[in-house]
Symmetry: C12
Subunit: 79 residues, 12 copies
């Protein structure tokens, strides 16, 4: 499975219940391969892996990354 444990990680902190973290595959086809639900105040520390090349986050959350702290916005009205 290689040395993917040296890859970078981001930290996601849920600011409401039901934040969804979706892992997208690395291969020729880009598909969702895993979905994780976070409730308010839960934290996920997630690496890129041989299987995950992209992460999609839905719901009020904060992303801690090498590019700073990024906050998703409220979707209650339009979502």
């Amino acid at each position: 499975m290689g040395e993917s444990w040296t890859s970078e990680y981001v930290i996601i902190k849920a600011l409401e219940n039901g934040v969804t973290i979706m892992g997208l595959t690395r291969g020729r086809e880009t598909k969702f391969h895993h979905t994780e639900k976070l409730d308010r105040g839960e934290i996920m520390v997630a690496q890129f892996t041989e299987h995950t090349a992209a992460i999609k986050i839905r719901g009020r959350a904060e992303i801690y990354s090498r590019h700073g702290v990024i906050r998703t916005e409220d979707q209650g009205i339009q979502g």
Copy 2:
């Protein structure tokens, strides 16, 4: 599939519904191989991979990258 999990990532935050993120292929021909839709407030953390050498973003969004934070502009009038 190599060690592409060590490649860099950018973070895209949608500022409106329907932001489109298109992955362009790395090979001899440059084609769209994947399209991802983001709704307002959703976030995508995306790496370059063996298959993706360029990313095109359409719609109001913010890109967090090693070159700073870049904001697409409103296209409502001309687009």
Copy 3:
């Protein structure tokens, strides 16, 4: 088992009894492979490994990481 001892680590400090630290697998399927309970004031220093690509934390805790110190929020009301 490779050289995963060079991977990064995060430090988790429990601020209440019963903080749960869940290790998620790296492989094709993302499953919980280990759950660790921390009581108030206990500390866990945890690396990414060949088996752990993501860590989920539930309960009042502080995460010390390369992206700073992150505090989970109280879940007593909604959780």
Copy 4:
């Protein structure tokens, strides 16, 4: 296809419709191998690849790079 996913990337932001991004080949002959059109406000994140050794940009745009932010100038009068 090598490990070209570790190469550097530039970010191009179109300031008007019809910005053209042309990829030039790396080989003995330097030819255009791909042309991408950006409309106003669209963003392109582009790596150098095994096939692309130079990028030419035409139209009002901003280039975000390791050498800073560079703005093309208006060509409406002379172009």
Copy 5:
């Protein structure tokens, strides 16, 4: 046994008698493989190894790490 002597180390300083340092295994199963007791004022300098991927600390102590100095809290009341 590889080159695990290049891995990082943390330093743990006991602030009371009976501080417990537990090493958790790196393998598929995460188990305690070693427990070390520190009395007040004793110090432990501990590396991650081929066998230890996580360290759990119980009792009043200070952890010196690349993420700063972290102090466990008093557990006398709830623990």
Copy 6:
């Protein structure tokens, strides 16, 4: 063709029509192997490659490089 995609790049911005960018060969003989014309405001992002070891620029332009920003001077009078 090696890994020349990791080489450095310079950015050239034309300040007038007809700026000429000439690539000189790396081999035993140093010859022009490619000439690119830029019109005012156009930008070229160019890497060194297995074939290009030197770049000559003629006409009013700005060069963005690791050694700073360098501006060619007007040649209208003497050139």
Copy 7:
């Protein structure tokens, strides 16, 4: 015996007679493999090695490390 001479070192300075420095083994079993006594004012410069993955210090001493200078506390009353 590998290249363990490139590993990190800590420096221990005894502040009283009889400071004990215990080396713990790296292998599957964590045992004491060496004990060194320092008298007041003596200094030990010690590397991690193929055999030593943890160091335990007992008695009044100062540890100089990449995480700063750490002082054990007096144990005369409780120890």
Copy 8:
């Protein structure tokens, strides 16, 4: 031809017509293998290569390098 595309480059800007850039060979014998003429305002971005180990510049010019910007002096009187 090796990987000489990763070598360093200097930038030479001519301040008068007829600036001469001479490449000297790397081999056992040090000979001129290429001469390039720059007119006023022209710029040359030049790497060291398998064939070029030294560069001699004659005429009024500025050299941009890792050691700063260096200006040749006027030779009109003595040269």
Copy 9:
């Protein structure tokens, strides 16, 4: 004998006659393999080697290291 000449070095300066520098072996057994005496004002520049994994210093001296300058204390009274 490997490449131990790239290992780190410390510098020891004797502040009195008879400062003792003892080299401890790297192998399974930790034994003294060499003892060097320094008189007042003499200096020793010493590397870790394949044979030396720890250095013990006795007597009034200063140690110059990557963790700063450390001074042994006078032992005349207790030693």
Copy 10:
């Protein structure tokens, strides 16, 4: 001929006519293998190579190097 194109370079600027730059060989015997004359204001950018391990400069000149800018002194009186 190896990869000597990655070696460091110094820049020599002649402040008078007839500055002499002598390359000394790397091999068992240290001999002059090349002499280059610079006239006032001329500049030489010179790498260490497989053949050149030392450079001797005679005459009024400035040396730009990783250790700063160094100016030879006037030799007219004693030289």
Copy 11:
């Protein structure tokens, strides 16, 4: 003889006649293998090598090293 030319060097400057620089061997036995005498004002630039793992300096001198400048003290009275 390996690549010991990349090892670090220290610079020793004699402040009186008869400063002695002794090289100690790297091997299992630590012996003096070379002694060099410096007179007042002379300078020695010395690398660690395959044969030299420690350097002992006797007499009034200054040592320039990665840990700063260190001055031996006068030994005239006690030495």
Copy 12:
């Protein structure tokens, strides 16, 4: 002859006529293998090589090195 062209260099500037630069051999025996004379104002840029592991400088000179600029002292009285 290896890759000794990547080794470090020092720069020696003679402040009087007759400065002597002596190269000492790297091998088991440390002998002078080359002596170079510098006159006042001359400069020598010298690398460590496969053959030179130490450099001895006699006479009034300045040494430019990674440890700063070091000046030999006048030897006229005692030398």
